[in-house]
C-alpha cells in the first residue's frame, strides 16, 4: 500500500480553508479593465504594440499592491485573492449590457448575493460606460473588419458570431523569467534596438517598435516587483515579529527578482507568480501553463535543502503553497448570463458549480512534471517529487497535472503518481514521451527541443517556452466543425436536423446512397471541405491579432521573439502551432458501423427505415433502436470492424488537417479531446448508433458510455488503435476503476503495467480515476461528506459534488472497471 506523508502544516491547512471560503465570496477584476480602458482611451492612435506596452506598464505602475496577511507568496493578478478575470476588449460588450444593463432587481440577484462574483453599484455603472466605449473597437470589431464574407455571412456550422478573445493555450517561458530575468532581456532588447536604428529597413521597421514595447514591459515588471518590496516593508511596520521578519526577507527578494535570476526556491516561485500576473493582465489567457517547472526549479530547491537554507518540511510547505496559489488564477469562461446566475444562486450554487462541469476552473492551467533533458537523459529531481507529493497531500482538483513518462522515470515517481491519481482522479495524467516526442519530430522540431515539450491546457503538448500554440480554440474564434455535425449533413441531405439549418455542401440523404462506399466518399469530401474551411479561417484569426492585438506578455520571454524582433502574434516564436480537436469519435464510428451493417452489409434494415427512425428521434422505432444497441458491434470492444472505421476517419482528419499550411508558417496539430459532450449532446439530433436527441455524445476518443462489452483490456486496445502518432495536439484514454480492482499490494504495479502496455501500443496519454458507482451515489445524497472526491472528466479533473447533475450522471454512466 502506498503510504506517503500527508501531514500538512497548519499554515497550509489555513490557506486551503481560506480559499474554500473565498470561493463563495469572489470579486470581478474591474481594476485591470479600468486601467486598460483609460490607457486606450488616452492613446487611441498609438501603434498597437506600443499601446499594449503602454497599458502593461501602466498596469504594473498603478495596480493595487495587495499583500494578504497570512500568505506565503505575494499578490494576485487582481486586487483580491482569487480575483475573477475577464477582458473588456475581448468582445464582452453585449454580455456586459445583458448582465449589468438588466433591471436593478435582477442585477442584484445575480451579482450581489452571497456566493456571487461581487460587482458593486459603482463598478456596474462603470462597466456599462466602458461597454459603450469598446463597442466597435474590440477584438471582434477587428475581426469584422478583415474576415471575408464567407465567414461572417451565412457561415453555417462554423462561425456563429465573432467573439474574439486572446488565444491562450501555450507554455510561457517561465524558465527564462526565473533563470535569466527581465533585466537581461531588457538589456538585449536595448542592444537590438540600437542595432536596428543604425540600419532601418522595410523588414525591421516594425521590430523597432516591438523592442521599444518590450523594454517598456520589462521596466513595468521590474517596477512592480519593487512596488511589492515597498509594500512588504510597509506591511512589516505593523506586523507581528515573526511575520515582520518574513516580510522583510520577502522585500529583499522582491528588490532582486524579476530583474535578476532567482537565487532560491521562494524567489523562483514568486517570479513565476509575478510573471503569471502580467500574462493574466495582458489577455486573461486561457490555459497558459508554466512548462517544465520542476526542471528549472529543481536546482534551486536542491540547493536550498543541501545548504540547510530550507528543511525538507519547509521546502514541501513552499511547494504546497505554490500549488494552492497557482490555482488562484480564475477566468470567467464561459460568461454566465443573469438567468443562469440567478437560477444557480436560488439553488445555493456558485460560479464554481456553473463552471465545474465545463473545465478546469484555474484558468485551464496545467503543471507538467518530469521528462527528459536535451540530451535524452531523465529529468527528475527533488522538485518533481515534492510537487507531485503536494498534489497527493492537498487533494486539489486544479491546476491540472501532467507527468511525463519515459524509460528513465524513477520507480518512486511512478508510485507517487499512481497513488496520487487514485486519491485525486486524473491527477496526474500520464504522458508517453516516446510517442509525443516523435510527433514533435514529425512537425520538424529538432530532437533536443522535442525532448523539452510540456503540456498545457488539457492534453496539448508543445515545446516549453518556445512555441506559440493557438491550440484548439483558434484564437477564440471557434474553428473547424465537428465530425458528428458533418455526419448529420451526410445523413440528412446537408441539413442539421437539430437546427433545421443547411450546411455548405449539398449532398444526398441516407436512403439515396447506392452503397456504403458512396456514403463514405461523401463523408470524406465533406470532412476535407470543412477542414479546409477551418484552416483558412485560422489564418484570418491569426491576422486579427497580428493586426491590432499583440501579446507582449508572451513575447517578452518566448524564445524567438527577442531574437527576431517579432511579437508572438507576428510569428516571432521559434515554433508556431494551431490545434484542432476530434470529438465524439465513438458516436461517429458506431453510427457509421450501424449504417454499414444494417443497411448495406446485412440489409436487414432499409436505409429509408433508419432515416425515418432518425427523423422521428426513434419514436415508434424503439425495437429497431434496441436491435442496434444489442446487435451492432461498437467501438471499444477490440472488434476490428468498427475500430477500422474509427481508424479510417480519424486518420483522414489528422492527415488532412496536419497537412494544411499552418498559421505563422507553423504546423497544424490534430488532437482528440472534448470537454462538452454532455452539452454537445443536447445540441445534437438523434444518431444512427441508437442515441436519442439530446443524449450525451461519446466522450472524446473513449467508447460510448454503455457500449463496452468485452472488458477493460478490449476497451484499451480499441482506443490504442487510434492514430495517436498523428495526434500532435494530444488526446487521452480516460478510465474509471472501482476500488476493488486497484486494491492489494501489487495494485500499483498492475496499474503501471496497464499504462505501459497502452503506451507500448502507441497511446500517448492515460488518465484514470478510482470511484465506485456506489460511492458517487452516496456523494449525490450527502455531498458534504464527499468534498474531496475528484474525478477525471476529460482534460481536467473536477470535484464530483460540484458537477451539475447531468454531468454527474454521465460520469457515473462511464464504464467501470471492476473485478
Amino acid at each position: 500500500m502506498e503510504n506517503f506523508d500527508i501531514s500538512i502544516s497548519e499554515r497550509i491547512l489555513g490557506l486551503k480553508a481560506k480559499r474554500e471560503r473565498i470561493n463563495r465570496d469572489l470579486h470581478l477584476n474591474i481594476e485591470r479593465n479600468r486601467i486598460i480602458t483609460e490607457y486606450y482611451k488616452a492613446h487611441e492612435n498609438e501603434y498597437p504594440v506600443l499601446k499594449r506596452a503602454g497599458y502593461l506598464y501602466a498596469w504594473c505602475a498603478t495596480r493595487e499592491i495587495n499583500i494578504e496577511d497570512d500568505d506565503i507568496f505575494l499578490g494576485d493578478a487582481g486586487p483580491h485573492c482569487r480575483t475573477v478575470h475577464f477582458d473588456i476588449e475581448q468582445t464582452s460588450q453585449s454580455w456586459l449590457r445583458g448582465c449589468f444593463g438588466d433591471t436593478d432587481e435582477r442585477f442584484r440577484a445575480a451579482w450581489q448575493v452571497p456566493g456571487s462574483i461581487w460587482v458593486d453599484d459603482e463598478d456596474r455603472q462603470w462597466l456599462l460606460e466602458a461597454a459603450d466605449y469598446w463597442e466597435g473597437k474590440d477584438i471582434g470589431a477587428t475581426a469584422r473588419g478583415l474576415f471575408p464574407p464567407e465567414f461572417t455571412e451565412n457561415a453555417g456550422p462554423v462561425l456563429k458570431d465573432l467573439t474574439g478573445s486572446y488565444p491562450g493555450h501555450f507554455n510561457p517561458n517561465y524558465e527564462r523569467a526565473v533563470t535569466v530575468g527581465f533585466g537581461a532581456v531588457r538589456q538585449t532588447a536595448i542592444e537590438k534596438l540600437d542595432e536596428i536604428r543604425k540600419h532601418t529597413t522595410a523588414d525591421n521597421v516594425r521590430s523597432e517598435l516591438f523592442y521599444r514595447g518590450l523594454i517598456k514591459v520589462c521596466d513595468g515588471m521590474i517596477l512592480m516587483s519593487k512596488r511589492y518590496a515597498e509594500g512588504c516593508r510597509k506591511k512589516a511596520e505593523t506586523a507581528t515579529p515573526d511575520r515582520r521578519a518574513e516580510l522583510l526577507k520577502m522585500a529583499d527578494s522582491c528588490d532582486w527578482i524579476v530583474e535578476n535570476p532567482a537565487r532560491n526556491l521562494w524567489e523562483g516561485f514568486q517570479t513565476i507568480f509575478f510573471y503569471q500576473y502580467l500574462i493574466t493582465a495582458d489577455g486573461t489567457h486561457w490555459a497558459d501553463s508554466p512548462g517544465l517547472i520542476d526542471s528549472f526549479l529543481g536546482p534551486l530547491l536542491e540547493n536550498d535543502v543541501n545548504t540547510g537554507a530550507l528543511t525538507r518540511e519547509q521546502a514541501q510547505e513552499l511547494c504546497d503553497a505554490f500549488l494552492l496559489h497557482y490555482g488562484d488564477q480564475i477566468i470567467m469562461f464561459p460568461k454566465p448570463d443573469n438567468d443562469r446566475l440567478i437560477e444557480a444562486h436560488r439553488n445555493g450554487k456558485t460560479m464554481f458549480d456553473l463552471q465545474g462541469g465545463m473545465q478546469n476552473i484555474a484558468a485551464g492551467s496545467l503543471i507538467t512534471l518530469g521528462g527528459q533533458k536535451t540530451d535524452g537523459t531523465g529529468d527528475y529531481n527533488l522538485a518533481t517529487e515534492m510537487l507531485l507529493l503536494s498534489y497527493y497531500r492537498l487533494r486539489v482538483a486544479e491546476p491540472s497535472l501532467a507527468l511525463r513518462i519515459n524509460k528513465h522515470t524513477p520507480d518512486r515517481i511512478w508510485e507517487i503518481g499512481i497513488a496520487c491519481s487514485k486519491r485525486s482522479g486524473g491527477l496526474p495524467q500520464f504522458n508517453n514521451d516516446d510517442v509525443i516526442i516523435q510527433t514533435m519530430l514529425d512537425k520538424g522540431v529538432p530532437l533536443e527541443d522535442a525532448r523539452r515539450y510540456a503540456v498545457f491546457g488539457c492534453v496539448e503538448p508543445a515545446i516549453s517556452g518556445k512555441e506559440w500554440s493557438m491550440a484548439a480554440n483558434c484564437g477564440g474564434f471557434g474553428g473547424g466543425s465537428s465530425l458528428i455535425n458533418i455526419l448529420q449533413y451526410v445523413i440528412h441531405g446537408n441539413v442539421n436536423p437539430m437546427m433545421g439549418t443547411p450546411g455548405m455542401l449539398p449532398c444526398k440523404k441516407l436512403y439515396e446512397y447506392e452503397s456504403f462506399e458512396e456514403l463514405k466518399a461523401e463523408f470524406e469530401r465533406q470532412v476535407r471541405f470543412y477542414i479546409d474551411y477551418g484552416a483558412r479561417l485560422y489564418h484570418f484569426a491569426a491576422l486579427v491579432f497580428d493586426q491590432a492585438w499583440p501579446c507582449l506578455s508572451a513575447s517578452v520571454m518566448t524564445e524567438g521573439c527577442l531574437e527576431s524582433g517579432k511579437d508572438v502574434t507576428w510569428g516571432g516564436a521559434k515554433y508556431n502551432g494551431m490545434g484542432s480537436m476530434l470529438s465524439a469519435v465513438a458516436t461517429v464510428g458506431d453510427s457509421l458501423m450501424t449504417i454499414k451493417k444494417l443497411c448495406f452489409d446485412d440489409k436487414t434494415v432499409s436505409a429509408r427505415e433508419l432515416y425515418d427512425a432518425l427523423q422521428a428521434n426513434w419514436e415508434g422505432h424503439e425495437l429497431l433502436r434496441q436491435r442496434i444497441l444489442n446487435e451492432v458491434p461498437f467501438y471499444g470492444n477490440d472488434n476490428d470492424e468498427p475500430d477500422a472505421l474509427v481508424q479510417w476517419f480519424t486518420n483522414l482528419w489528422a492527415d488532412h488537417f496536419n497537412s494544411r499550411p499552418g498559421v505563422n508558417h507553423g504546423t497544424n496539430n490534430c488532437g482528440a479531446l472534448d470537454l462538452y459532450w454532455v452539452w454537445g449532446g443536447k445540441m445534437t439530433w438523434a444518431t444512427p448508433d441508437g442515441r436519442k436527441t439530446g443524449d450525451p455524445l461519446s466522450p472524446s476518443s473513449d467508447p460510448r458510455q454503455d457500449a463496452v462489452k468485452n472488458g477493460p483490456l478490449a476497451y484499451v486496445k480499441s482506443v490504442a488503435k487510434m492514430p495517436w502518432d498523428k495526434m500532435r495536439c494530444g488526446g487521452a484514454i480516460n478510465l474509471r476503476f472501482d476500488a476493488n480492482s486497484v486494491r492489494g499490494e501489487d495494485a500499483t504495479a498492475k496499474v503501471r503495467e496497464l499504462i505501459q502496455s497502452y503506451f507500448a501500443m502507441g497511446g500517448i496519454q492515460f488518465h484514470f480515476t478510482v470511484a465506485d458507482t456506489a460511492i458517487m451515489r452516496a456523494a449525490q445524497k450527502n455531498p458534504q461528506d464527499y468534498q474531496d472526491l475528484i474525478v477525471r472528466i476529460a482534460g481536467f479533473s473536477a470535484y464530483f459534488t460540484h458537477l451539475p447533475f447531468d454531468d454527474q450522471e454521465n460520469y457515473i454512466a462511464r464504464y467501470e472497471i471492476g473485478v
Binding site: 424503439e622 425495437l623 434496441q626 436491435r627 444497441l629 444489442n630 477490440d638 468485452n710 472488458g711 477493460p712 483490456l713 478490449a714 484499451v716 486496445k717 476493488n740 480492482s741 492489494g744 499490494e745 501489487d746 495494485a747 504495479a749 498492475k750 503495467e753 496497464l754 505501459q756 502496455s757 507500448a760 501500443m761 472497471i817 473485478v819
Partner: protein
Amino acid sequence: MEYQNVTGRIYDIQGYAVHDGPGIRTTVYTKGCPLRCLWCHSPESQYHSLELGYLPVKCLGVDLCQNACVSACPNGAISAGEPVRALDGSGELRKAMIDRAKCTGCLKCTKACITKALYPSGRDTTVDEVYERLDKDRGFFKNGGGITISGGEAMAQFEFTLNLAKRLKDSGLHICLDTTGFAPTEEFKQILPYIDLFLYDIKHMDTLMHKKLTGVGNELILTNARFLAEHGGALQIRVPVIPKLTDKEDNLRATAAFCAELGEAVKLVQLLPYHATGRMKYDRLGWHYKLKNVEPPTEDFMNRILALFQSYGLSAQLY
C-alpha cells in the same frame, strides 16, 4: 493441431483479472464445479448445464417486442408481469416474469430476446476460439501477466482445460490454473507441465467440516497439493476466511502448518476475506443465497491471521 477443436463450456472471459495471479491477466471461466461452497460468489459457474439468466433491468417490457420471449417459450414459463414504471420515466411497462418451476432451461427465449435481458449462463466453444480471444490481450502480459484458467472447476472439463493449457503454453503465454484441487491426481500429473502457477484453494483442514461447507471431503485436495508440491508445481495457496465457518484458530493454524509442510512449492499464501458481492448473481438465476447473517471479517482480524501465517515462515498477504 489436433487439440484445437476440443470443445468446452465457459461462462465468461474477463480482461484485467488482476486478482487471478501475477501481473495483468485475462481469465477464462469454465462452467461446472463438483463443489458447492456455501459462499460461492459465482453461482452461475456451479452447474455444467446452461441455465436461464435474467436481468430484469434490461427488459423493456413484452409489449415492445410483441411478447417475443413469451411466445418463444414452449413451456409457458414466461408471462407479462404487473406494470411497473419505466426507468426513463416514459410510462409503464410489463416486464417478463419467469416461473422457474416451469422452466426446463431450453433457452429458446434467450434467442428471441432483443435486449438480451434473458441470457444463457454460459456458452460452448472450442480451444481454438478461446485461444484466439485470449491471444488478443497478449500486449498486456509483458511483465509476468498472462492467462488464468478458472471455473467452476476447470479440471472438471479436463480434456478442454488440458488442451487449452497446451495451446497457450505452445504460444509462450504464462498460465495459471485456478483450482479447487478436486480432480483425479492422474489428471494433475498430466497437466502439471503446462501450468506455471496453480492458484490452489485450501478451504478447511477438517474433512468433515470441508464436506459440510463444500459438499466434498478434503482428502483428494490435500493429496493433490502434496503431489504438485513434490513434482515441481508452483502453488499460490488461497484461503477463504469465512466468519464462523473457516475462521477458527485451530483450522487456520492447521492450514498454515499444511502450507509450510509443502515447502518451497508454495510461493505465496493469499488470505481472502469473505465478501457478499456475489449475492445479486443468485437473484438473476432465481436461486437462494444460503449464507445469511455473515458479515465480512474486520481488518483487524485479518491482520491477526496474516501474522499467524507469517509466523509459520510463509510469504502471505491479504487479498
